[in-house]
Amino acid sequence: MPKDHGIGAAQKRREDVRFLTGAGQYTDDISVYGQTYCAFLRSDVAHGTIKSIDTSDAEAMPGVLRIFTGKDFEGIGGLPCGWQVTDKHGEPMKEPGHPVLAQGKVRHVGDPFAAVIAETLEEARDAAEAIVYDIEELPAVVNMKAALEEGAVKVHDDLSDNLCYDWQFGSDQADVDKAFAEAAHVTTLELVNNRLVANPMEPRVALGEYNRANDESTLYTTSQNPHVIRLLMGAFVLGIPEHKLRVVAPDVGGGFGTKIFHYAEEAFVTFASRQLNRPVKWTSTRSEAFMSDAHGRDHVTKIELALDAENNFTGLRTDTLANMGAYLSTFSSSIPTWLHGTLMAGNYKTPAIQVNVKAVFTNTVPVDAYRGAGRPEATFQLERLVDKAARELGVDPIALRRQNFIDSFPYATPVAVEYDTGDYVATMDKLEEMIDRQGFEARREESRKRGKLRGLGVNCYIEACGIAPSNLVGQLGARAGLYDAATVRVNATGSISVMVGAHSHGQGHETAFPQVVAEMLGIDESMIDIVHGDTSKIPFGMGTYGSRSLAVCGSAMVRATEKIINKAKKIASHLLEAAEADIELKDGQFTVAGTDKSVAWGDVTLAAYVPHNYPLEEIEPGLEETAFYDPSNFTYPSGAYACEVEVDPETGRVEILSFAAADDFGNVVNPMIVEGQVHGGIAQGIGQAMLENCVYDENGQLLSASYMDYAMPRAEDVPFFQVDHSCATPCTHNPLGVKGCGEAGAIGSPPAVVNAVLDALNAGGMTVDHIDMPLSPHRVWKAMQG
């Protein structure tokens, strides 16, 4: 019988009640007394020299309180990058300055160079338009290959060129060369991982408030990690000590990575509110979001696979150009390196792997983590390549994968990581069962009779979640720790508030986290609430990204709850006049083992706070514990995905008929939430594969700058998903055995879609090696024309 309480129960998300009935409290819903409004003036050219900015007319306009330009930020820190990558020559990456408001030059369309504070938003916007400026347009560099050519226009004049770093990673050169020299077959593929705009439903918002009475600043912001923002903004940009700075990230309407980073607008409103002694609010328009939210992906890769005569993978080599945009966003440098190179082994025991990545500055919006961050890029390259190899060799693509699967664990890859568990055969078996592979040829024939080309695409994926441990990532260049923290505060009557460092912006923490504590204590979930998103309430945690919340913060919560249980047992042993070792906790009752003597959870908690009958000489009153948890390894979710499509040969239009996902997430706390995460991830993956594309023209103008041109996936673009997570190999190193499920769908789905379309075309008699995403009707039609 399915459980309805505790770990494993498919409880409905309790937060949905407020979200669905309009009671959510998003940043823009927060307004404070005396609030002013901010409008940014943003560059409409991709590259230019700021000759002059004359704000005098604008300052005289109604309601205008103050206008800031880059000059006001001289001597103030720029936006920091949180990860220093060391290149293959041992040199640190190039780290250009990133002022809050542009100084001297603008470097991408959307780069803010002035900001108006006014009594109303319309007054601020009117005044921003009245600022007179002279920006001399310079030639822009947009294409990464062109940016690396001799004599290319430089994005940053103080750097020697546009190369941020040239990174190399993996096996010894000799081993890789040998694998290719001795290969019976080499498959080569060049591909683009298309640039994406995350497009969370809620645009970014920042509200800065300064309290002169205690010299304290508060920033309300749409963030996935309020403590990270407090640390970066307080310590690196504005020089405000932590105890005078509070960051609140209330309900957040989707993040997908793009709300991890510390943005100029956050620092600006905090700074300006201190200057004016008035609260300052900025709410992004959708148009601003397109040109100021960090973008995702944008890799161009050449990848090669060496196989021996028995079709065993013997070597893998990749060459990637990764777009950084005009400035280094908070975690940008780590995405194409440590979150991408380390995943290149995939599910396969390829013995020699070399990853080369050049990160490039261009006159475009900064690029950083977007759902999956590096891992979708790795998966896409590898799984497209394996499919191409199978086609070239004339072997079954699933059989080729199975033959090369890693089949014993733990497994140390040539790209530094050690997979603790997995069962790739099991997920592939499950997948084949889900998709009725035997019946596929009959379905293909049926489509053919209707004049359509049917295709089946399959891929595997492996991902690494809960990036850790801190001492390792520190060696790799991270400028932060990657632990998390939880405080379990038990109240006198037994109800519990759990303050967590993780931040929920769609992940359902408020439902899933209490299920864990409820299971451990044997009490009802309704007695437990999760508190998150406010640095003045929660312990120092690193927030939510990289599918880390349950694996890292959930583990901290388990450790803190264990401390609670230990102390509660001491109290119970006192109340029951029994030895502590004999106390058992079950269903919210502390019982003396082998007797019917017991005391209820609520009696113990009450004793802790009303310690009349209490061992005060042995233990402190109260029942509140904190734990920090730093994982010893990543977790490695994995799975096998399949997609079936039909292509209209006359128009190139692709219809996705079905999509199946067999995932191994280890233990699952709430299967309904897990399925929801997979559904959302696959929808975004299908979005990348079929629809989404962020396009600049050669002058650096953003062509896909609204929903009229940037195609988001809609309900009718995705089929009903078949999802399964029954093939579970629990994580071996965290207390819950959980792996993380937030990004899997987005990581695992694009190659299946593309593989399916190529299968349809090739089985339909065409020879098409590859089509770059998104597979728009036009691109597919063009590929079909040969």
Partner: protein, 261 residues
């Protein structure tokens, strides 16, 4: 948005008077105009809302002609234009429910977006666009992208569609906006077939005369065999190159003819 005055007259006469004011502009359903106001791309001083004028909302069929008030919403056309099923189906497939419940046929025809659906229907049907001052034949009305024969302050009060024997509209959607990447409206009348194409040409909606001639002799998809349009003059953008659009016009025309049988 810049600030503006708004007036909501209840008669065409009052609306015409209000539109005589300095920098006044008609507001239909606002589905095109309001986004451009929000983006500060337009700055009318006075908006004259037409949505309270009941006399331009009616939909009725008589003597083989379907008359639709210029203020009728796409949703009401979808629901009430049963006398001309291909037109009702076109309206039912514009945008999303919010757009259909606000957007109007008058606004669509006045705007004449090169990728909009109604212009194809009006041109293929040889419709008459009726304004507060005159009647304009569809063949004389569309003057290229976003340009029409309307004068400043002229209001589309009614559109009269002769009801064809057979007709169909087939729209191949632009993936992002869902406007027509290419849309073809085919209508068969006793005196011949008319084919109007939207979404494709740099000149806006146009009639494909070779196809009309072929289909007037033989109203079947096979009559189009061997006919194609040159890529030259077709729009090229992020979503489709001119040659692809030209190709799609052929495919969509054949499909429309088949659907109209």
């Amino acid at each position: 948005m810049y600030s503006f005055e708004i007036e909501s007259p209840v008669s065409v006469a009052d609306a015409v008077a209000a539109l005589g004011k300095e920098e006044a502009q008609a507001l239909g359903g606002g589905q095109t105009l309001i986004p451009s106001l929000k983006a500060r791309l337009a700055a009318p001083a006075v908006l004259v809302s037409l949505s309270k004028i009941d006399e331009i909302k009616g939909i009725s069929a008589a003597d083989g002609v379907l008359s639709i008030g210029g203020g009728a919403t796409h949703a009401s056309v979808a629901a009430e234009a049963g006398a001309y099923p291909a037109l009702a189906a076109l309206a039912a497939n514009i945008g999303d429910p919010a757009v259909r419940n606000r957007g109007t046929i008058g606004g669509s025809l006045a705007n004449n977006d090169p990728a909009a659906c109604y212009p194809a229907a009006a041109l293929a049907s040889g419709a008459t666009i009726v304004t507060n001052t005159r009647e304009i034949a569809a063949d004389d009305y569309f003057e290229g992208m976003f340009t029409t024969a309307l004068e400043d302050g002229e209001i589309v009060t009614e559109v009269r569609f002769p009801i064809p024997e057979k007709a169909a509209y087939v729209k191949f959607e632009q993936p992002a906006s869902r406007f027509a990447l290419v849309g073809v409206f085919v209508a068969k009348y006793p005196d011949g077939v008319r084919v109007a194409v939207t979404g494709a040409s740099e000149e806006g909606v146009f009639r494909w005369e070779e196809a009309e001639a072929a289909l007037s002799g033989n109203f079947s998809a096979s009559a189009l065999d061997g006919l194609s349009l040159p890529a030259e003059g077709m729009m090229g953008d992020l979503h489709a190159a001119p040659d692809y659009r030209a190709h799609l016009v052929g495919v969509m025309t054949r499909r429309a003819v088949t659907a109209a049988q």
